[in-house]
Symmetry: C2
Subunit: 178 residues, 2 copies
């Protein structure tokens, strides 16, 4: 199975007059996301399902992917909200669905969550947590840079837990898809 | 500073009649590498220097990048050969050169070396070695998939050791550059 982790496009700035979950894509964010979606279609990708965080900026990003015909299926999941976590998503969302090996899922969400999900899939939870601790000590940034409207492609293993056993085959900033 | 780790293109199969270090790019390997190089130029990239493994298939890949005008400077380094390692390259090759912050270096080499170099730059040597051990136990594959003629883009920190403190902003298979 392949997972495509997609970060929402450029959104309104945080401010006192708007709730974080209500922030919308800006005009630039909308246009850039459309171009990225068109390029992904051109590369030959199709998703069986797009799952999005319920926050407006993610939902709008996912709707653009649908409008550009990257998938016909859209679903919201609170697991993809900023307070969601990958272990819970794997156990409570992915496992019960029993998808076939060749399923291609796109997840639209937020940072730093998506980078952490990717790192956890690739290197496992224990490695990550010990590394996170040493990172705090040395004030080091995260290892992956996922820009707004950028994406990460990950292949899950055919059997067994994907944690620490998945492989990353793609990480791209939007600028290389415009 | 930005490092671009580029894997050599498709080469002749291993065989009794040819030494590993003498294997050449196939016609397909040559054509695909040319297309990838042309696309990278189109994306606006230029390298201040291309450093290549001395093995024929890597050297030929680097010469294609030069022919497509991705750089005017080519150098061979045994650090990039299959028995090279990143710590030695950092200490004995990179540090003494004292490059400026905005230098863009391309390194042409082999797998699994380049993936290991990337993981070591991102997550550090200790994390990697403990993870390698747990991987051996569970027979898990490497976390990064770097195809022939594919590339990884990494940003080194402005000061201090890059080990465990660098960030990956790009990982692409050649098929998304054709």
């Amino acid at each position: 199975m392949e997972l495509y982790l997609i970060r929402h496009g450029i959104a309104q700035e945080r401010g006192l007059d708007i709730k974080d979950e209500q922030r919308s894509l800006t005009k630039e964010g909308r246009q850039k996301t459309e171009k990225v979606a068109q390029k992904i279609v051109k590369l030959g990708l199709q998703f069986d399902l797009i799952v999005t965080s319920p926050l407006v900026r993610a939902r709008q990003t996912a709707e653009i992917l649908i409008a550009e015909k990257l998938s016909s299926q859209l679903e919201e999941s609170s697991h993809l909200a900023p307070d969601g976590n990958i272990s819970s998503w794997l156990i409570n969302w992915l496992e019960p669905r029993n998808y076939s090996q060749n399923t291609q899922l796109a997840l639209v969400g937020h940072e730093p969550n998506l980078s952490i999900w990717a790192e956890t899939l690739l290197w496992g939870t224990e490695i990550l947590s010990s590394e996170s601790r040493s990172r705090e000590l040395s004030e080091v940034k995260a290892g992956l840079v996922l820009k707004k409207a950028g994406m990460i492609g990950i292949k899950l293993p055919e059997a067994g837990s994907p944690l620490g056993r998945s492989q990353m085959f793609w990480l791209t900033p939007p600028k290389y898809l415009l």
